[in-house]
Symmetry: C2
Subunit: 318 residues, 2 copies
C-alpha cells in the first residue's frame, strides 16, 4: 500500500506499457488508469475502443510485443471472410481481438455503460487494477485537413497519417462528455497522491482526456504532483504521427513543445536519456525534470520507469 492513490492517464500502445508498469508496482486499490476513448469508433456494427484494448491486453499480458499492437498468437480469418464478402477491410481486426469487440458491442447495445462493460471484461481477463474509460459519452477525435475533418481512425489507419493536419478537435454531443464515474471519483479522492501522464501523444491521446467536461479545471485545481513521461525519444516519436503532427501544427519536435503544451498543469517531466540536453532549458522554466531511459522493451523496463514516475511524485512503492 502506498497510502496514496495514483491516477494515470493513458492513450494506446506507448501509454499502455507504463500503465502495465504502474499496475505491476502498485496495489490494485491504489491505481486508477483512465484511458482515452477519442479514438473509439463504430465499424462493421462493432464498437471498437483501440486504447482501452491496448491497455487491457498489456495488463493481461495478451499484447503482441513483436507486432507492437493487438493480441499475441492472433489470426485473421474473420477479416479474410469479411473481405471475401465485400466488406471494408481498411481496419484490420484479428480473430481474438474480434472476440473482444463482439463481447463489448453486444453488452453496450444491451444498455450497459462503457465503464461497466470495461470493468466486467477486464476483470474476466484477470486484471485487478481499474481500467476506466475517460467518459461513457462519445468524444470523437477528428483531424482537420485540406479535405476537411477526418475521423481519427480514417486519418490514422485508412490514410496512415498522410494528410497534413491543420487542427484537431473533439466532437461531442451538445452537452459535451462527462467524466466516467470512476474518473470523477478518482479526481475527487482525498488520498489522491499523484497524476501520471503516460508517454502518449499529447495532442491525440491526452488532449481528448483533458477535453472531458471539467477535467482540465479539476487538474489545474488539484494539489498533487502531475508527472508526465515524454513520448519523445532522441528528439522524435518512437512510433505514431507525433513528430509529423508537431511540425504541421507549427511546433518544434522537442520536449520544450511537450512541456509548453501541458503548460501550468505539468509539475514534472520525465525525458529520455538520449534527450538529456533538453533538461537544462526545461529546468530554467521552473519545471522539475528527470532524465532516464524511457524506452520500455520488457516488464523490467516498464516497472523501473513506473517507479521513477512515482518517485518523482513522492509516491512510495513496495
Amino acid at each position: 500500500m502506498s497510502e496514496k492513490h495514483v491516477l494515470a492517464l493513458s492513450g494506446g500502445v506507448g501509454g499502455a506499457k507504463l500503465a502495465a508498469g504502474l499496475a505491476a508496482v502498485l496495489a490494485p486499490e491504489d491505481l486508477t488508469i483512465v484511458v482515452n476513448t477519442g479514438d473509439d469508433f463504430e465499424h462493421l456494427g462493432l464498437t471498437i475502443c483501440p486504447d482501452i484494448d491496448s491497455v487491457t491486453y498489456a495488463l493481461a499480458g495478451l499484447n503482441d510485443t513483436q507486432r507492437g499492437w493487438g493480441v499475441k498468437d492472433e489470426s485473421w480469418q474473420a477479416m479474410a471472410m469479411l473481405k471475401d464478402l465485400g466488406e471494408a477491410d481498411w481496419f484490420n481486426l484479428g480473430d481474438r481481438d474480434m472476440g473482444m469487440h463482439i463481447a463489448r458491442s453486444w453488452r453496450l447495445r444491451a444498455g450497459d455503460t462503457l465503464s461497466a462493460v470495461t470493468a466486467r471484461l477486464t476483470r474476466k481477463l484477470g486484471i485487478a487494477s481499474a481500467i476506466v474509460p475517460m467518459s461513457d459519452a462519445p468524444l470523437r477525435t477528428q483531424v482537420g485537413t485540406a479535405d476537411g475533418w477526418l475521423d481519427f481512425q480514417r486519418y490514422f489507419v485508412a490514410e496512415q497519417c498522410r494528410p497534413v493536419a491543420t487542427a484537431i478537435r473533439f466532437d461531442t454531443g451538445p452537452a459535451g462528455a462527462a467524466p466516467s464515474p470512476a474518473f470523477a471519483q478518482a479526481l475527487a479522492r482525498e488520498d489522491l497522491g499523484a497524476i501520471v501522464v503516460c508517454p502518449s501523444n499529447p495532442y491525440l491521446s491526452v488532449d481528448p482526456i483533458l477535453a472531458v467536461n471539467g477535467v482540465r479545471e479539476l487538474l489545474a485545481a488539484r494539489k498533487v504532483p502531475l508527472v508526465a513521461v515524454s513520448p519523445l525519444v532522441g528528439g522524435t516519436a518512437l512510433k505514431g504521427p507525433l513528430a509529423k503532427l508537431l511540425s504541421e501544427l507549427g511546433q518544434p519536435v522537442s520536449n520544450q513543445a511537450i512541456a509548453a503544451h501541458y503548460g501550468d498543469l505539468l509539475d514534472h517531466l520525465i525525458i529520455d536519456e538520449s534527450d538529456a540536453a533538453d533538461a537544462g532549458g526545461l529546468r530554467e522554466t521552473g519545471l522539475s525534470v528527470t532524465v532516464t531511459g524511457t524506452v520500455m522493451c520488457d516488464a523490467g523496463d516498464r516497472e523501473r520507469l513506473a517507479r521513477v514516475a512515482l518517485s518523482a511524485a513522492r509516491i512510495e512503492t513496495g
Copy 2:
C-alpha cells in the same frame, strides 16, 4: 435452360447438399432456393442464420465436409476469447463463420432486409443461383418440452435434443411472416415447373417454410409436381433429431410417416435404396415413388440425385 423454373425448399446441411446439386445441374436463372429461417437467432449481438449459411457454404464450396457443418479450414480464436471474457460459449462459432455473421448483422442493423443481405453476400461469394430466405420477418421454431417451450437452438445445440418433444410451434409477430419477395415471385411464376423439397427434417426445417403466410395454400393450389427427397436412410435419419422426434410425436420412423406428413402436397417421394421395401406400401396410397441412393458424399452424388429429382418432375437438364 430447362425452360421451366424450379423452386427448391431447403433446411440445413442435408438439404444444402441437394440444393448444391440442383445449382450444379440447372442454369442459375432456372432455380430459386428458398431456405428455412426458423432456426435463426440472435446471439452475442449477431444475427445467425444457420440454414442460409449451410446452403451458402455448400454452394460456394466453402463447407467443411469432414465436420459436416460450418466452413472448411475453420479456426476458433474469437470464440476462445469470448469464452475467456465470460461470454456464452454453448453455440460454437468459427472465425470465418463469424465474418459472415458480422457482415450480415451490421447490414441488417443498417436497415437492409434479410433478402437483400443474403443476395449481396452470396453474390460476393460467387454464387450465381438465388438463395432466398423464406421470409424477411421473424418466424422462430420452438420445441415444446416438459419444461415449456424452448427456442430451437436452445433445444438443438444447448440441450442437444435431449428433452422429449411434445409439440413444435412457429413463433411470429401478430401478422405472421410474409413470404420474402423472391419466394412469392417464384411461387407465382407462370413457368414454374417443379417444387423440390430437399432431404431436410419435415417438422423442423420444412414445416417452418409451410408456415409462412399463404405458402401452404399456394403449394396446394399449384399445378406443378412437388417432389420430396426423404431424409430417412435405412429407416432412420442420417443425422439430426428426426428419428427421435418422430417417436416422441407418436409417429413411426418410416417413409410412410414422411409421406403422411406432407399429405396432399406431395406428388412424388424419392426414398433411399436401403428402404426399397417401403415403396410398395407408398405406391398403394397413390404416390409416385423413386427408389435410388440418396446419400450424398460428393459432387457426383449430389448432381445425380438432383437429376433424379428433376426427372421425377419431368424437368429436363443439360
